[in-house]
Amino acid sequence: MDRRYAFEGIKVADFAWVGVGPITSKYLADHGATVIRIESHTRPDVLRLAPPWREGQPGLDRSQFFASFNTSKYGVTLDLSKPAAQELAKKIIAWADVAVESFTPKAMRNWNLDYEQLRVVNPQLIMLSTCQQGQTGPHALYPGFGQLMASLAGYYHISGWPDRDPAPPYGAYTDFIAPRFAATVLMAALDYRRRTGTGQFIDLAQYEASLHFLAPAILDYQVNGRVLGREGNRSFRSAPHGTYRCQGEDRWLALSVSNDAQWQGLLATFGNPSWGADPRFATQASRLEHHTELDRLVEAWTVTQEAEAAAETLQRAGVPASLVQNCLDLHQDPKLEAWGMFQYLEHKEMGPSPYEGHQFHLSKTPGELRWAAPVMGQHNEYVFKEILGLSQEEITKLTEEKVLY
């Protein structure tokens, strides 16, 4: 294919912050689009204020949390509360194919940068607005983060043990659901515009997108009156199925047996113990019925084992299994290394820092982490001079007036 990147030539004005918006525009940036990330010292992205930081020392330009979601983008600073900055933002909009923002709905309106005003500047604009609960409705203006949305959208309630409080997923779970939907629909809107010349406005509520991961429970509640809860590591079709203690400090093996072949593989790995012939474990349905006893027997073996080696042996015997990998394990996982999951990029202030690679690979127009995340205003000169055509004098003046700030 005679294109290097899938979205080369596409131009994006990225007003977004925190998780969902920046992750969405990152897909385009890493696949070749020119993405201008618009920030301001007057309201820094809260992720710049959040750890982990280089050497553990806070600083606006030291957060890997921010950096991971903002690769391959150009960074500019604009204090959008100032009319002159709003005019410059509109110049960026006139240049752009796509605008992305993720504030509570009134913010862009307050800056005179809502879709109704921006479409006047650029009638073909595609604008994606993503916030917690959507642009309309009684809860539209409610602020929030993915931790709260994960709780509101039902994910806390279904995480953990049935006899305990929820054991929530780490972090802002729904921030890693909504961008998958947002990026897909944004790319489709770009293709629609290519075919028809028509831009449009996209209102993506993190709440609504996230509920698609809960759909079977939503149907089950209506049809059967069942309120899905926590089930620990129990499975409806696999036994044994769980995480089992191994040798060492907090080392665990996850394994799962769903059919007779896997069961035979497990027994062979365990050295064909006598309990393998127990008629209670002869069929998958019977193993499901006796899963508690199986858990005990499996763990009696795993506690004598080193988790990583046991997982490898089980996999060779055809049994789905893995070390329960902690963060350090991930960085040393040969599978992830072969995929290119962690990559070091040279950041202007942080130096070489670890970034996540991609979750899908394209065979002919592969994306890549083109460069590290920008420090505050790193590309002010490039963007305002080379792309928008301002003179050096104008840029100096706007910087002094804290319009570029």
Partner: protein, 424 residues
């Protein structure tokens, strides 16, 4: 059923062959919502994922899986046995008139049948083939197996989910497959866009383990930048050495509360003001300047001063929440802009006034079951080309006639022969 006029036209005119099982079904569903004609290609007798619970009225029938309903609504279904030469020939005919192929077979399965990307692209150079793989298509994980549990474990999330005195634990409902399915939609669209400019398709490989790693948010860099790691600690967080509760009991359930100052201090102040109005806020909490209270100052705190503050807040907040229900607390938080949320059950979600105001849920008729079920509606609202959840999931082979006769132009005799030899 919606009328044709209501159908999305965002991706009208494109066709996807969805061969995926539960690991990829959401991808096909997303494409169906965008207006793509998605044809589920099932083995004779039906996709094994039709055996996934829950079932309509708990009746384990392949035509009654609510799990299958949820992720196949709006698709068509044909049956086809790829293990037969006749079946493979039919599949090749389908590929010639399609734009996308989605599959989640073990790596090498389609290649061994002569239906890998290279072979399919010779039939149709525009074709995009999207493959979901547990650990990618190269390297030592290529031939390894994983289900939902193993993906959560190998992807790093389980190690930090659960409590110190129990094993690592996962979420319910096969969440890893949904991450991978939705990510497959992104990858497929990223291949589609250049295809429409160059006429050339390509292969998309989704790594399901990588999809879980991405959900770890900011965790991966801790060992490298801070020299420590996030620990599994139930409802407590503490990336900066503190132990801070995030989920609190209330009268009828639990509340999740973000307790942080700095840029979020507006919420703390509003919350403590509310407690103060109810005479339940310790004086020091009402008076303290919260503007700098957060991870950056915690990092450099001396002794256990901050931890003592956190513990005192926890005690006061717990007492306060226990006087009210989830609904009462959330309603007031909405008014006061306090960063909290109920720990919702699916019953709470179905009662959401916000979702109702936005007409989020879409009723779909299941005429054979004599019922109508509400489904999660479009995942986004588009001003020009609305997405649409258009109809219930198909029965096994419901569209065999339509696809094989009308689309492929097979004669009635050929259709009969294919059925007799067991190809469809």
């Amino acid at each position: 059923m919606t009328t044709p006029a209501q159908r999305s036209t965002l991706m009208a005119g494109y066709r996807m062959l969805d061969l995926s099982d539960e690991k990829g079904m959401l991808c096909g569903k997303i494409f169906a919502d965008m207006g793509v004609e998605v044809i589920k290609v099932e083995r004779p007798g039906g996709d094994p994922a039709r055996n996934l619970p829950p079932f309509h009225q708990d009746d384990p029938d392949p035509e009654k899986s609510l799990f299958w309903f949820a992720y196949n609504a709006g698709k068509k279904s044909v049956t086809l046995d790829l293990a037969t030469a006749d079946g493979r020939a039919v599949f090749q005919d389908l590929v010639k008139v399609s734009d996308f192929v989605l599959e989640s077979f073990p790596i090498g399965y389609l290649e061994n049948l002569g239906l890998g990307y290279e072979a399919l692209s010779r039939l149709n150079s525009r074709i995009i083939v999207t493959s979901l793989t547990p650990f990618g298509d190269t390297g030592p994980g290529r031939d390894q197996q994983a289900d939902d549990l193993v993906l959560w474990a190998s992807g790093g999330m389980m190690a930090i989910m659960g409590e110190r005195d129990r094993p690592p634990v996962r979420m319910n409902l096969l969440q890893s497959y949904f991450h991978a399915g939705a990510e497959a939609a992104v990858g497929t669209m990223a291949a589609h866009y250049p295809r429409e400019l160059t006429g050339e398709g390509q292969q998309v490989v989704v790594n399901m383990q990588a999809c879980i790693v991405w959900t770890l948010m900011n965790e991966q860099a801790y060992p490298i930048l801070h020299g420590n790691s996030v620990q599994r600690n139930g409802v407590f967080v503490g990336s900066t050495g503190m132990r801070q509760r995030t989920v609190f009991p209330c009268k009828d359930g639990q509340i999740t509360l973000l307790l942080a100052g700095g840029p979020l201090a507006f919420s703390l102040r509003a919350f403590f003001k509310w407690m103060d109005e109810k005479s339940m806020c310790p004086q020091w909490m009402a008076e303290k300047d919260w503007s700098m209270w957060g991870p950056a100052t915690f990092m450099n705190a001396k002794g256990d001063e901050v931890q003592k503050e956190i513990d005192a807040i926890e005690a006061a907040v717990t007492a306060f929440f226990l006087t009210m229900t989830k609904a009462e607390i959330y309603a007031e938080a909405l008014k006061r802009r306090i960063l909290l949320a109920p720990v919702s059950t699916v019953a709470d979600i179905m009662a959401s006034e916000q979702l109702a105001a936005r007409n989020f849920f879409v009723p779909l008729s299941h005429e054979d079951l004599g019922t109508t079920i509400s489904y999660p509606g479009p995942f986004a609202k588009l001003s020009e080309t609305p997405l649409a959840v258009t109809g219930r999931a198909p029965h096994i082979g419901e569209h065999n006639r339509e696809v094989y006769r009308a689309l492929l132009g097979y004669s009635q005799e050929k259709l009969l022969a294919l059925r007799i030899v067991g190809a469809i």
